[in-house]
C-alpha cells in the first residue's frame, strides 16, 4: 500500500453516515420538546391532507340557514355551527388545509427571493451590495401588515394565488439580511479561497459552496416564517380582506363569528386553538433548530 500512514490510529473507526444534515436531525430529535412538536405538527398536517375524509360535513354547505345556525357544540356538531348553519369542525379541518398551504407556499416565495437577493448582495459586495441593502432598508421601513392592508384594500377580491404571492413578496426582507450576513461571513472562509484556487467559478462557489452552508439559518427562518404567515393570514381574514368566502381559513372562521363573539364563543375558540397550537409547535421547532445550529 502506498504511503504508510502512522496517524491512522488517531481517528475513530469509519462511520459514513455523519453528514452535517444527519447530525443536525439527530440533535433535534434528541430534544423532547422538538419530538413533541414534530408529532403535533405531523397530526395537524395529516388532518389537513386527509380533510375530505375526516370532515363530517361539506365545509361550505348551508343545510338549514334558519334552524341549523348558531348551534353550540353538540354530538352532531362537536365545534358547533356558524351563522350560515355550516359545521365549524369541518371548516376548521379544511381551514387547516388552507392556512398551512398558504403558510408554506408564501414562505417558499419569500425563501426564493430572500435567498437570491441576500446571496447576490453578500457575494457581490461593494457598490452592488450597498445599493441593494439601502433598497432593502427602505422596504423594511414599511410595516408588513400596513403594506398588505394597502394592497388588499386596493384590490379587495384577490384570488388565493395572489394572496400567497403578496404574503410571500412582503416576507423576504429579513431573511435576505440573514443570508447576506452569512454569505459575507463565509465569503472569506479559507474553503472559499481554496475553491477559487481550484478553478471554481463565482457561480459555482455561491451555489455549491456557500448556499449549502446556509441550510441551517434558512431552515430556522422558514419554520418561523410559516408560523408568521399563518398569523398574518388569520389577521387579514379576520379583517375580512384575506381568504374569500366560502372558503374556510382559521382567520375567516373567527371573522364569521366576530359580531357575536361573546355568544358564539365556539366560533373563535376552536379555530383559535388550532392556530395557536400550530404556531406554537412551529416556533418550538424553529427554536430548537436554531439551538442545534448555533451550538455548532
Amino acid at each position: 500500500m502506498p504511503g504508510q500512514t502512522q496517524d491512522s490510529a488517531r481517528i475513530e473507526p469509519a462511520r459514513p453516515r455523519e453528514s452535517p444534515l444527519a447530525l443536525g436531525v439527530r440533535a433535534i430529535l434528541r430534544k423532547r420538546s422538538s419530538r413533541v412538536a414534530i408529532i403535533v405538527l405531523g397530526v395537524i398536517v395529516m388532518i389537513a391532507i386527509l380533510a375530505p375524509f375526516i370532515a363530517p360535513y361539506d365545509p361550505a354547505a348551508q343545510p338549514d340557514i334558519v334552524a341549523g345556525k348558531d348551534l353550540p357544540p353538540s354530538l352532531a356538531h362537536p365545534f358547533g355551527t356558524d351563522p350560515y348553519s355550516r359545521d365549524v369542525l369541518s371548516r376548521v379541518i379544511y381551514g387547516a388545509r388552507l392556512s398551512l398551504t398558504i403558510g408554506i407556499l408564501a414562505t417558499m416565495v419569500s425563501l426564493t427571493f430572500g435567498v437570491a437577493y441576500g446571496a447576490i448582495a453578500g457575494y457581490a459586495s461593494g457598490l452592488v451590495d450597498g445599493v441593494m441593502m439601502r433598497l432593502l432598508d427602505a422596504l423594511l421601513s414599511i410595516p408588513r401588515l400596513l403594506l398588505l392592508l394597502g394592497v388588499l384594500v386596493a384590490w379587495p377580491h384577490l384570488s388565493i394565488g395572489s394572496l400567497i404571492l403578496f404574503l410571500g413578496l412582503t416576507g423576504w426582507f429579513g431573511l435576505s439580511r440573514i443570508v447576506r450576513g452569512q454569505v459575507l461571513a463565509l465569503k472569506h472562509a479559507e474553503f472559499v479561497t481554496a475553491a477559487e484556487a481550484l478553478g471554481a467559478s463565482r457561480r459555482r462557489i455561491l451555489v455549491r459552496h456557500l448556499l449549502p452552508n446556509l441550510v441551517s439559518p434558512i431552515a430556522v427562518a422558514s419554520t418561523l416564517g410559516i408560523a408568521h404567515v399563518i398569523v398574518l393570514e388569520a389577521g387579514l381574514s379576520y379583517l375580512g380582506i384575506g381568504v374569500p368566502q366560502p372558503m374556510a381559513s382559521w382567520g375567516n372562521i373567527i371573522y364569521d363569528g366576530t359580531d357575536q363573539i361573546a355568544r358564539l364563543w365556539w366560533m373563535s375558540l376552536f379555530p383559535g386553538l388550532f392556530m395557536v397550537i400550530t404556531v406554537m409547535t412551529l416556533n418550538v421547532l424553529g427554536e430548537s433548530l436554531r439551538d442545534v445550529y448555533e451550538r455548532r
Partner: protein, 342 residues
C-alpha cells in the same frame, strides 16, 4: 531551458485607507520543471501574497501592479482573462493551504470535494470523478479510501485532512503545486509524514513545488533552492546547501541563529530584534537596516541591489561590497515593537 514559472518584478500592492501597502515589491524568481523551491521569511514579509498573486487570488483593495510579469507555460498570468485563469487554477497550478480544517467545506464529504476538482476541469461523469477521487486519496496514503471518501472533514484527523487537500491539489496532475505552510498546523510527527508524502509524489509525477514556510527545517528537508524574503523583497537566493553553508544576508543569518539546535546549550533562543516594518512604510534604503547587526559606509538611503555573492548565490546586502564591516557587529539601531503588520 526555459523555466516552468518565471516571475519578474512582481509587485502586489494593497491600496488601503492607511496608504499603499507594498506587500510584494519587485520580486523575481524562476521555478524549473520538477524543481522544489522554498520561500522562507517571517510573517508579513510577503510570502503568502506572492503565492496568491501567482494564482491571481488577490482580493481588492489588493492589486497586482502593471509591469509585473508571471510567465507560466508560455502565458502571462497577470494579463490572462478570467476564464483562462480558472482553467489554470487547480488544473495546471494548484495550492495546498495551511489550515486543512478551514480549507475544506464542512458540509460535503471529502470524496465529493476531491471529485469536484475533476468535475470542474475534467469534463467527466460524476461516477468517473468519484472513482478518480478515491484513487487519488489512496495515492496520498489514506487507508480504506472508499470509506474515507464518504466521510466529512470533521470526522478526519488533521493529518488525514491535509492528505485530502493534497489529493485535491494532485488530482489534475498539475505542473506546479504551491504549498503554503502545509505542515504548520500539524503535529510534529505528522509534519514529517506529510513532507515525505509530498516529496514522494513529486518524484512520481515530476511536479514542481513552491514550498512556502517560515521553518528552515522544512526548507532543508524538501527544497533544492531557497528564496529568502524580507519586507516584500527577495533578500537572498541560493541553493539549499550553499545557503546553509554560507548564509550571506544578515537576515538569513538571523533566521538560522534563531533555530534551536540539539546539543547546543543556550539560555534563550537568539532572536532577531524588532519586527518587520509596516508595508505601507518600508524604509527607503536597506529595509533590514534598523534590525541589522552590521553597519556600512554607503549612504543610508541607498537601496541595495541583489549582489552576486557566489555561484547562483545572490544577496541584497551592501556587505557584499564592504565585507570588512562583517567583522564589526554592533547593537541594532531601533527595536520597533508591534510596528509590523501581519
Amino acid at each position: 531551458m526555459t523555466p516552468l514559472l518565471s516571475i519578474r518584478d512582481l509587485r502586489t500592492y494593497f491600496h488601503t485607507e492607511a496608504g499603499v501597502a507594498r506587500s510584494v515589491d519587485g520580486v523575481s524568481f524562476d521555478i524549473g520543471e520538477g524543481e522544489t523551491v522554498g520561500i522562507v521569511g517571517e510573517s508579513g514579509c510577503g510570502k503568502s501574497v506572492t503565492a496568491l498573486s501567482i494564482l491571481r487570488l488577490i482580493q481588492p483593495p489588493g492589486r497586482i501592479e502593471t509591469g509585473s510579469r508571471i510567465e507560466f507555460e508560455g502565458k502571462d498570468l497577470v494579463t490572462l482573462d478570467d476564464e483562462a485563469m480558472r482553467n489554470i487554477r487547480g488544473n495546471r497550478i494548484s495550492m495546498i493551504f495551511q489550515e486543512p480544517m478551514s480549507a475544506l467545506n464542512p458540509v460535503f464529504s471529502v470524496g465529493d470535494q476531491v471529485a469536484e476538482v475533476m468535475r470542474i476541469h475534467g469534463g467527466v461523469s460524476r461516477r468517473q470523478a468519484w472513482d478518480r477521487a478515491v484513487e487519488t486519496l489512496a495515492l496520498t496514503g489514506i487507508p480504506s479510501p472508499e470509506e474515507r471518501a464518504k466521510q466529512y472533514p470533521h470526522q478526519l484527523s488533521g493529518g488525514m485532512r491535509q492528505r485530502v487537500l493534497i489529493a485535491m491539489a494532485l488530482i489534475m496532475k498539475p505542473a506546479l503545486i504551491i504549498a503554503d505552510e502545509p505542515t504548520t498546523a500539524l503535529d510534529v510527527t505528522i509534519q514529517a509524514q506529510i513532507l515525505e508524502l509530498l516529496m514522494k509524489l513529486q518524484k512520481e509525477f515530476g511536479t514542481s513545488i513552491l514550498m512556502i514556510t517560515h521553518d528552515l527545517g522544512v526548507i532543508a528537508e524538501t527544497t533544492s533552492r531557497v528564496i529568502v524574503m524580507y519586507a516584500g523583497e527577495v533578500v537572498e537566493e541560493a541553493s539549499v546547501s550553499e545557503l546553509f553553508a554560507r548564509p550571506h544576508h544578515p537576515y538569513t543569518e538571523g533566521l538560522m541563529g534563531s533555530m534551536p539546535h540539539i546539543g547546543h546549550e543556550m539560555d534563550r533562543l537568539n532572536v532577531i530584534p524588532g519586527t518587520v516594518p509596516a508595508p505601507t512604510n518600508w524604509p527607503q534604503g536597506c529595509r533590514f537596516f534598523e534590525r541589522c547587526r552590521y553597519s556600512w559606509d554607503r549612504p543610508e538611503h541607498e537601496h541595495p541591489p541583489l549582489y552576486d555573492v557566489g555561484a547562483n548565490h545572490r544577496s541584497r546586502c551592501h556587505l557584499a561590497v564592504e565585507p570588512q564591516h562583517r567583522n564589526q557587529p554592533h547593537e541594532p539601531l531601533v527595536i520597533r515593537e508591534g510596528a509590523g503588520a501581519a
